[in-house]
Amino acid sequence: MEISAKGQSSAESKAAWRLAKLLLSPFTAVGRTAISWVNNSGASAIFLVLALKKTFWHKQLAKIVQQLYFIGASSTTIILLVGFFTGMVLGLQSYHALVKLGAQGAIGTLVALSLVRELGPVLTAIMITARAGSAITAEIGVQRISEQIDALDTMRIDPLRYLISPRIIAAIISFPLLTALFDLIGIIGGYTSAVVLLGANAGTYLHRVQSSLEMKDLTDGFVKAVVFAVIVVTVCCYQGYFAHMRQDSHGAKAVGLSTTSAVVLSSVLVLVADYIVTSLLI
């Protein structure tokens, strides 16, 4: 009788434990995710600092130039296309909105400020993330899972110096330049749609572009571009470099998931950072 009572109480306590575990599971998941985020943020920051420390080395120049070509020069076409059509859409929308208020003269101001302050840096960062960032993650990820990074270690070649530093420097140089190109081509796009296609006044458009833009707008845009460059390249390199540490998958699948994570995370962080940097600079 006593044994039966003991068995019953043990079964009850097990059931209570299971229930508690079930009820707590959402909080556990949130806690785990939060800890993982904090861990990864800290690790990414250390990763960035270590890679930056290894920048200054006489053999880095050739690798930086190579990465400048890949991240910067090779992204020119996509930046020109996206910039031009973004400008055209801005010109089109602002024309139809402002013409109702009789303020079509302000099209140039709207297009120029939108592009230089916000759209230029943000869209450039997102486009480079999609084109070069994903490729960086996939390339480094494959190098990791095929032991090429371990091979560098065994050859006493520092992988951070060899693979990561040149990409960070190339991104920091490329992002502002491509942003400038995006801004310029966007303004031309706005001119094409508002002036050439819809018949707004050319002189007014160009005058408003010139008069509304201040040096601060340009420097703020470039500050954002540099911040985004650091975020995008760090996230993409980090995700590839530690693709083998993923808990949810291994091998080629891990590289695929890391690439997805890198693109999504970079894009979200660019938008979050945009708000933070804007609120600090404004």
Binding site: K59, E139, Q143, S146, E147, Q148, D150, A151, D153, T154, M155, R156, I157, Y162
Partner: protein, 414 residues
Amino acid sequence: MDTPLIEFKNVTKRFGRRTVLEGVNLKIYEGEVTTIIGLSGGGKTVLLKHIIGLIKPDEGTILFRGKPLNGMSKSEVDASLAQMSYMFQDNALFDSMTVYENIALPLRERTTLTKAEIDRKVMARIEQTELTDSSRKFPSELSGGMQKRAALARALVIDPTIVLFDEPTSGQDPVRKNAILSMIAQYQRKFGFTAIVVSHEIPDVYFISNRILALYEHNIVFQGTPEELEEFDHPFKDEVIRSLEGLQKELTGLHSKRQFKVMYHGQMKRRSLKDTYCVAVFKLESLDNIIETLGHESAQEAIQSMGVYIDKHFGAIGGFSTRRSINEFVTVFPYSELDEAEDLLEDFVKDFQEHGIAEIWAEARERAAPGTCVDFIILAGLAQGQPIAEIETIIASAESKQKEIGRLRCAAGE
């Protein structure tokens, strides 16, 4: 004995709850080929990665030339590890670089050599590993064996004093396994480095290793010479050594040394003391010349073919054979007198020359440079014994009587 080059003292490594190495003690000596054998997934690669510093032990000490690595300054550790090269199981060649660029990489990144000096060193290694025609190709354009050679060339280009080979023969057939191993042994003799080879599937492990270390159930259960391993009695032998013997049988069709001894004792027990038997010791002479001229694979094919022909000729009449060393075979004719054994040998040589070597040549012609020529020389010695005598004595007697019984000279370009 000298101070070991590398010594593990009670090294333990765990990954989470899984223990991979537990209290491992081992010694590796300079200038030798040390082979670490063990079951697949038994922690051999983890052990090797501890040596090159890719993994740190959770407990225990690793000593390099008598000094603990964890007690050295960073520059001392770097200097110690810089003497080592590592050849990965899957080669780990950079697939976006050509063979030349892969081999040149450590020199370009680690040294201050000029472009011309780097080119000279890289081309020398490319020639030595017979990759001249493939130097501008990408790894994905090469065969498995060529990729191995490219990885070996990259490992050797910095003139290391220690080279670690992680499963260098994985995914190869028995002939290629031995060909790769023969290549490692040849380069080890040529360049004088210390070779540490990890494998669970080397048929020729006994013939090329100076020392063998056996990793079993997270620990080193044996370290010693191949001869000592033969006398070693442990459950490890049942699992690992038998599989190696299986590979050896797959290669030559002959019995392992152990099986040979068992058969010998079984046969002799049934004989009266007055009975006699014969022992023949065969040798494929100048193996190095064959390797030099036709390559490692052809040399292995020649050894394989010789084993197959020995088995074919003498197995049918009750003889049993084993491989004694890399190019030597022993056959016991339990019921033959000397005269009869000599006749059998003649038939064997004739058949092996007409068919065996001819087949090897047919294959080798495609690989060898036009006009190259090498002699296949077969030596054999016969001795007669009685059941009371020790087999080793009869073998030694047969070996001392070895003479040339066959020679085939042929030009690859013919």
